[in-house]
């Protein structure tokens, strides 16, 4: 059921625009909205004060070390935590999956990155190696009935998670897609492909909330 008030007041979906694949997520969200025939505004978030106005938040891929530092420096980190605590749907891809996690591996600790601790997950920063090991693969994702092309770039993985986390996909012994309530984390980059199913799934979360 689509919330009537959201249709009256133009809904905002925010993409954290500190660094990384920002325009790709903005484009994918706009296309997903268009396909559903929904009028909503997709905004880029570089500074404090915008997150609380958003009905959904995307943390895109980029360099997690850089993202974590600047999210804290700009004061956005706290805002995302508060929004997620209120149940605002949040999508994190690649670096975003790391940022959302509760615990990191040695690599994460080495740089003193401040993780947001929104998901009850423990992550491995470069679970799939360096750039030469980066890959594309057809994935089975629990929420879809046909394979999804996963683009993995120096990708992280979820090593373990708490009971509240639902595993959506695995690759080898790594969890590469998971959700916890309204929070969705992916180790790969749906925004680099033309497949809009992830963004539509996320949009449904926003509309149903």
């Amino acid at each position: 059921m689509i919330n009537f008030w959201k249709m009256v007041f133009l809904m905002k979906i925010g993409v954290i625009a500190i660094q990384g694949a920002v325009s790709e997520h903005v484009d994918a969200l706009r296309r997903a909205l268009e396909k559903r025939g929904i009028d909503a505004e997709v905004v880029e978030i570089k500074h404090k004060g915008i997150v609380p106005k958003c009905s959904g938040i995307v943390i895109p891929g980029g360099e997690s070390t850089t993202l974590c530092r600047l999210l804290a420096r700009e004061g956005i980190a706290e805002e995302i935590k508060e929004a997620a605590a209120k149940g605002v749907p949040t999508l994190g891809t690649c670096a975003g999956l790391i940022v959302l996690a509760k615990e990191g591996d040695q690599q994460v600790e080495k740089t003193g990155q401040e993780l947001l601790g929104i998901m009850d997950t423990r992550v491995n920063r470069n679970a799939f190696g360096r750039q030469r090991d980066s890959f594309e693969a057809k994935l089975e994702v629990a929420i879809f009935d046909s394979p999804f092309t996963g683009v993995f770039i120096r990708a992280p993985g979820i090593v373990s998670c708490g009971p509240g986390v639902k595993v959506l996909s695995r690759l080898g012994d790594m969890i590469i897609a998971a959700e916890q309530g309204n929070v969705l984390a992916l180790a790969f980059h749906p925004e680099l492909t033309d497949d809009l199913r992830i963004h539509q799934y996320f949009l449904d979360k926003i509309l149903n909330c």
């Binding site: 500190i18 660094q19 980029g62 360099e63 360096r130």
Partner: protein, 298 residues
């Protein structure tokens, strides 16, 4: 899961890596300590090299790939991606860097070219490449050879941003001029600028380069970095500008923040306060053509 089915080094993976660097600052470093400072400041990647361009310019001689020992130490020190420079056409240096685990190779005019006619066939590598360009033809030739990222050449090691500005405006002006042209007119442009017609058509349609385009060559202050972002750069490389500055830590952090706040003059003013003197530099116009690094590459 069948790990045999994983596809490595595809165009999507290579260009995708470059896209993850967008909005970021990539810093030249020559030691693991400098790499740590860069990471701490918020760099998205570091570029490992033997000497920063300003020193290469001063010392003269043949400039080659960095010592693999140092590159390895830098890789082991930081969690962010490590890039390194190979000489133009020196595919073996590039292979060595790939074998070390470098995340992106810069086939760079800052080093002494190893081949007077040809660039590296970058399609043969799993690791992505970045290459310098001064104009659209050069950029599209490099992309045709497999470059996953373009950067302006600017004039490295000068601390003078004017050449980076010139190259960025040149490329963007040429792209704007493609708009509205017919197929036959685009074919004529492709002949004129010595670039493949398919890439000229793609660029005309997208109204931007088909890969990420960074600014490089002479960026020395937070204001310089913000200027390049305002001109449409996807991100910024800073070479000598950081570790030739009076206070590298402050300069590095300020340049990262300037790139994130490039469209906010009040914030840029705050960021630029008290960062100490920028590198001394040399006016790019004072450099004789035969000593200009940007003339290298074909």
């Amino acid at each position: 899961m069948d790990f045999e089915k994983l596809r490595h080094g595809t165009e999507l993976i290579k260009r995708g890596f470059a896209r993850m660097q967008k909005g970021g600052v990539i810093m030249d470093v020559t030691t693991p300590e400098q790499a740590r400072i860069a990471e701490e400041a918020g760099a998205v990647a570091v570029m490992a090299l033997q000497a920063v361009p300003a020193d290469i310019r001063k010392e003269g001689g043949v400039a080659r790939m960095a010592d693999p020992e140092i590159v390895q130490q830098i890789i082991d020190t930081v969690t962010i991606p490590v890039m390194a420079k190979a000489r133009i056409g020196h595919f073996v240096e590039a292979e060595i860097l790939e074998a070390l685990g470098v995340d992106m190779v810069d086939e760079s005019e800052v080093l002494t070219p190893a081949d007077p006619f040809y660039h590296i066939d970058k399609t043969q590598f799993t690791v992505p490449f970045v290459c310098g360009a001064r104009n659209l033809g050069e950029a599209l030739r490099r992309i045709n050879e497999g470059a996953a990222m373009i950067r302006t050449k600017g004039e490295a090691g000068t601390g003078d941003v004017s050449q980076a500005v010139k190259h960025m405006k040149q490329i963007q002006g040429e792209i704007r001029a493609l708009a509205g042209k017919t197929k036959e007119e685009l074919i004529m442009v492709a002949r004129d600028i010595e670039a493949p017609i398919e890439l000229v058509v793609e660029t005309s349609k997208m109204q931007r380069l088909p890969v990420v385009n960074f600014a490089a060559g002479g960026v020395a202050t937070p204001a310089d970095a913000a200027l390049m972002m305002r001109l449409g750069a996807d991100g910024v490389f800073v070479g000598s500008g950081i570790f030739k500055a009076e206070n590298p830590e402050k300069m590095a952090k300020a340049i990262v923040e300037a790139v994130n706040n490039y469209d906010n003059p009040a914030k840029l003013a705050e960021i630029s306060k008290g960062v100490g003197a920028g590198m001394k530099g040399i006016c790019a116009d004072m450099i004789p053509v035969e000593e200009a690094l940007q003339e290298r590459g074909w």
